[in-house]
């Protein structure tokens, strides 16, 4: 190992100019690539495509549309909808939505679509027609009156017209692929179109436009994600100021920051080269890369600075720093990389992307901050003035480190370890209560007062429909809808599901067939049954079109749609469990109740995937960290000293999630892996100095004191810097960024404390023969 480092040192520091030139070249090339980086979001990336539910969902998506729909509610601000302005505006919105690329034109529905019809029972049987007649003119009060009557006859209040008659709905299904070009739908461009062409054009003092649906949500998230640039700038500024106070040299401040930015540029360039875009959900990855870069950069300038103060030239100092930090820094960054890579086990597109982009980013830091940075620093000349600044500081800080080193004295260690054990027990209990999934109504990625969530609340409030629905796909034999037995079975299932707490209402072909049968019998509610007579059944079913989404072409598949009160994880799992329990008892060969489609079906699958991924992910992250520590320290004791505090902190982070009501979701799941990956750095830096001394038989407290002297300030400093940078996310307009910000801040700070307080306490136990209360030698 030492030989390898020797060779590397020789090669790199003999050809410094070449190294710099090479880096410049790569940076230039990748910067050009990075300019092509696009924001990119796709519905399918957010769902666990290989989950059974999602396979069923994809299988039937063609027939029943998916969960990817868009609802546009057009509302009159002052009066009911029956006025000229409103109807003209509604028509505009309908037509405009029809022409927005990405919309499935056969699935645009509103009062204006010809398929919106009313039927009424008259003495001769049925009579009916389109709700808005062909000769309708919005300026004719009689026409409006007629439409008002037709709406009431058509029974669409609550679905297409709001309960208070102030709004009307236009809804559409989205296509995953553009039928003309065959390209993936550009969700963000689509969302922008909605904003520009619907809200921009048609919202004013009289009419308001409310848009919800996955595409719109992602669009709003992307808009919010643009704030990240601002946070990025703020974080760089804060970091710069802090680094300056740390090193008291402008040049030394600029170098680690520049190298970290270079790492970000490389990462973005490489991601583009690999053909990925930047998903709004993972937009904070570059930020994280920067933060990690700075953290390692500071170790580097700290080390070089110390060498210089001790009288070396900048070049020798840089070379020495390179030598001493390549191994701990490399191991730390490698465990970050591996930690992020473990996220690949989760079969959800955006988490995999996050895993790839983040691990790439961290891996390039090895080059930029462990190679380029020392090379650059070797050119810096640090004068006597610089040395003088640190002369006194060393002495002052020695006193500070001395007091901290007491953590490794057996007495204090006992107190620390007992408190940690208690904390751990408490955290363990709390973390077992951690909830999976979204805990709040509306779109969890956005704040409750965001326009999108306000629109969601308005629509769920004013209409009987809800965007939170789950469809159970009933797979049976062709023409099954004409069988009284099968339809009764579906009806029975539907009724039992309707009785599950959390289900608001339900609809299926069976329930609609009963209504139609009553319709054929003069609208008499006493005839609301599934006819035993097959011809009568056929007569009823034939009035239901496949575009209703209640049956496929040969009615071998009929969804039962369950509208839910909310999409809280416990509601979802209660309903999903009820479906599973029912089918356990009643499912037959030719009557299968398949989960699941609809937005809540997707959530159910995601929740299950996230829940299933949680334990393996933790196992892999810790497995990787343990393995790397064993390899680099060759000591079980050292490894445990690093890993135990890390584990306690990750359990506490979960406890914090319970306390703050942050659910484990696609966006918060990676946080713990990220936190562990980054948190391990502190321990590795401290222990890499300590472990050699411990092997040489130095007392634990002395070894720890020496380590603190060498690395302590850098560890403290990075912990605080990272935490301050990340904590600015609390002001993000995106709820999930806020959640991530809180959790990461917690993990950075507490992991640092773990490395400084708990690690030495553990060491004093593990190396009990070398521990003692003897004072340290400064």
């Amino acid at each position: 190992m030492t030989k390898l480092i020797d060779v590397l040192e020789l090669v790199i520091f003999r050809h410094r100019v070449w190294v710099i030139a090479l880096f410049a070249l790569f940076t230039g090339y990748l910067a050009v690539q990075a300019t092509n980086l696009r924001l990119d979001a796709a519905f399918t990336k957010n769902i666990p495509l290989n989950h059974t539910y999602m396979k069923n969902y994809m299988k039937h998506q063609k027939n029943f549309g998916g969960a990817n729909s868009i609802l546009v509610s057009v509302c009159d601000r002052d009066s009911d909808i029956f006025n000229e302005t409103f109807f003209n505006r509604l028509k505009n919105v309908h037509d405009q939505l029809f022409f927005i690329p990405g919309v499935d034109r056969s699935q645009v529905k509103s009062l204006y679509s010809p398929s919106t019809r009313f039927t009424e029972v008259v003495e001769e049987g049925f009579s009916g027609g389109p709700v808005i007649p062909a000769d309708f003119s919005a300026s004719d009060p009689r026409g409006l009156e007629l439409v008002s009557q037709n709406i009431s006859k058509a029974g669409i209040v609550g679905r297409m017209v709001s309960d208070d008659f102030q709004c009307a709905m236009v809804n559409a299904q989205l296509l995953e692929l553009d039928p003309q070009t065959g390209e993936q739908l550009d969700t963000l461009a689509f969302a922008q179109d909605l904003e520009d062409q619907l809200r921009g054009k048609y919202e004013d003092d009289e009419i308001s436009i409310h848009i919800i649906g996955f595409a719109k949500m992602v669009g709003d998230v992307a808009d919010g994600a643009k704030d990240v640039l601002l946070f990025f700038a703020v974080a760089i500024a804060i970091t710069a100021v802090m680094v300056y106070f740390f090193c008291k040299s402008l040049l030394l401040t600029v170098l680690p920051l520049a190298c970290s930015i270079i790492a970000v540029v490389w990462q973005m360039g490489l991601v583009t080269l690999l053909g990925f875009g930047l998903d709004p959900m993972s937009i904070l990855v570059p930020f994280l890369v920067f933060a990690i870069g700075v953290s390692h950069g500071v170790q580097m300038i700290n080390s070089v600075g110390k060498q210089v103060v001790m009288g070396q030239t900048a070049k020798t100092g840089a070379q020495m720093a390179f030598r001493t930090l390549l191994i701990p820094g490399g191991v730390a960054l490698l465990s970050d990389t591996v930690g992020f890579m473990t996220l690949l086990v989760i079969d959800i597109g955006i988490i995999r992307e996050l895993a790839i982009t983040a691990s790439l980013g961290v891996a390039v830091i090895i080059l930029t901050n462990l190679v380029l940075l020392p090379v650059l620093m070797s050119y810096v000349s640090l004068g006597d003035k610089y040395k003088a600044k640190f002369e006194n500081k060393e002495k002052r800080s020695d006193h500070f480190w001395e007091s901290i080193s007491r953590c490794s004295s057996p007495k204090v260690a006992k107190v620390i370890l007992v408190s940690v054990a208690l904390l751990f027990a408490f955290g363990w209990y709390q973390s077992s209560q951690m909830k999976i999934g979204d805990l709040h109504p509306g779109a969890p990625a956005l704040h409750e007062d965001s326009r999108y969530n306000q629109d969601t609340f308005l629509i769920t409030d004013k209409y009987a429909i809800s965007v939170d629905y789950l469809s159970v796909l009933v797979e049976t034999t062709p023409s099954a809808c004409t069988s009284h037995q099968i339809m009764s079975d579906i009806d029975e299932f539907q009724w039992k599901m309707e009785n599950v707490a959390g289900v608001q209402s339900t609809v299926s072909l069976a329930s609609v067939a009963k209504l139609i049968n009553a319709g054929y019998n003069e609208g008499n509610p006493k005839w609301r049954v599934l006819p035993r007579n097959q011809q009568t059944m056929v007569q009823a079913i034939s009035r239901v079109d496949t575009s209703s989404g209640l049956l496929n072409g040969d009615c071998s598949v009929m969804p039962v749609i369950l509208f839910m009160e909310d999409h809280k994880a416990e509601t979802i799992s209660r309903v999903v469990d009820a479906v599973k329990e029912y089918r356990q008892q009643y499912q037959q060969e030719d009557l299968q109740f398949k989960l699941a489609s609809g937005p809540v079906g997707v959530m159910a699958a995601t929740n299950e995937a996230v829940k299933a991924a949680q334990d393996p992910m933790m196992a892999y992250v810790f497995g990787a960290v343990i393995l790397l520590c064993l390899l680099s320290f060759r000591s079980l004791r050292a490894t445990l000293s690093v890993v135990v505090p890390l584990y306690v902190v990750s359990v506490l982070a979960q406890a914090l999630m319970t306390k703050l009501q942050i659910g484990l979701t696609v966006s918060t799941l990676p946080v713990i892996a990220l936190g562990v990956g980054i948190g391990v750095d502190y321990g590795i830096y401290i222990l890499s100095t300590m472990s050699q001394k411990l092997k040489d038989g130095v007392a634990v407290r002395q070894a720890y004191f020496d380590a603190l002297k060498e690395r302590g300030s850098a560890v403290l400093f990075t912990g605080i810097t990272l935490a301050i940078g990340v904590s600015t996310w609390v002001f993000s307009s995106l709820k999930f960024q806020m959640d991530m910000g809180i959790l990461l801040t917690f993990m950075f700070v507490v992991n640092m404390l773990g490395a400084i307080v708990v690690l030495p306490a553990l060491a004093s136990v593990f190396w009990y023969k070398q521990s003692g209360d003897k004072k340290v030698q400064k």
């Binding site: 003495e123 008499n524 005839w527 609301r528």
Partner: protein, 330 residues
């Protein structure tokens, strides 16, 4: 030879169809039963209790009209009517089911269940503990003389108009089997039967209104200038007789004539209900309800669910509707 073939053939059809092996299925105890479609409501004798029946074999009882208890019932067919006579209660419905409870609604037995008929029963009425009738679709008419232990089918051609009667008579001579199948097709749905003094009144499909003086053994059609369906005919407490039907059609019988009352609504009128100390009430689809005051008063519920029948209980008007039990307040 020909005559024998047809019953044989129809026997074959029925044995091959799945309906013949349908057994009654127990109703599921559901939290939402009192919010489900309920079709009839009645007071149980002196017990000061209410009973309501509806879809999926739901039978609910209540002592206060507020909280409802779902009873265990051996069928899950839609129940359309209930008749209570002290402790004896009969409920009738689809699959020609007739259920009986001898203990005020706590336990139920099947007296009749005949899904092969593919006809629902729509009303049930008893004259005493032993004698009663149940009526339904396509002229379905059952009578019992023994409290429902056995129910016998009757066909009442007198409910048809003259032309149809003549046509049927002509068939009778040629082909008995065809006569019977035609009769089943021609006979109107019988929607409601009610008592007016010692007479019976009957309302049915296609302008059918009839009166009987011998507990429904013979019927006399009453002429009315309307060919749509009637869903109820009742004598009110003050002795007037009303008939209510499709698309807001309301008639009053006076001087041997049916006179139309303009209601101004086009929703089906389902039931006419006597309310103590108030004018009679008509409940209708789309949440409409009409007070038969000197000048008709029309109200509508907020949720516009179809109101099927009602009862006056503890000074409250309780209706059964598409959305379960509701109270009318206006």
């Amino acid at each position: 030879m020909k005559k024998k073939l047809i019953p044989l053939f129809s026997a074959l059809i029925f044995s091959s169809s799945s309906i013949s092996d349908v057994r009654p299925q127990e109703a599921f105890q559901a939290p939402l039963a009192d919010k489900s479609l309920l079709l009839d409501i009645s007071q149980i004798g002196q017990k000061q209790q209410l009973i309501a029946v509806g879809e999926r074999g739901h039978i609910l009882t209540s002592a206060d009209g507020q909280s409802w208890e779902q009873q265990e019932v051996p069928v899950n067919a839609v129940l359309t009517a209930v008749y209570a006579r002290d402790k004896h209660i009969w409920a009738a419905g689809h699959d020609a089911v007739i259920l009986y409870s001898g203990d005020g609604g706590e336990s139920w037995q099947v007296q009749n269940f005949n899904p092969e008929l593919q006809k629902p029963l729509l009303d049930v009425l008893f004259f005493d503990d032993q004698h009663g009738i149940a009526i339904g679709a396509y002229g379905l008419f059952y009578r019992t003389e023994n409290g429902g232990q056995s129910w016998n089918k009757e066909a009442h051609i007198s409910l048809l108009n003259e032309m149809d009667v003549e046509y049927l008579e002509s068939l009778k001579e040629e082909n008995m089997a065809f006569y019977e199948s035609e009769m089943e097709a021609i006979l109107p749905h019988l929607n409601r039967v009610s008592v007016a003094g010692d007479k019976l009144l009957l309302a049915g499909e296609a302008g059918t209104l009839a009166i009987s003086e011998d507990q429904g053994r013979n019927w006399q059609r009453m002429d009315v200038d309307y060919y749509g369906s009637f869903f109820d005919i009742q004598q009110t407490t003050d002795g007037r007789i009303f008939a209510a039907g499709l698309r807001g059609n309301l008639f009053e019988y006076s001087d041997e004539q049916w006179l139309e009352i303009e209601t101004g609504i086009s929703s089906t009128l389902n039931s006419i209900v006597n309310i103590e100390g108030k004018p009679p009430l008509v409940v209708a689809n789309k949440g409409y309800y009409l007070w038969l005051e000197d000048s008709l008063r029309v109200e509508q519920t907020d949720d516009e669910e179809a109101l099927v029948n009602a009862v006056f209980f503890n000074n409250k008007i309780l209706v059964v509707s598409e959305a379960g039990i509701q109270e009318l307040t206006k």
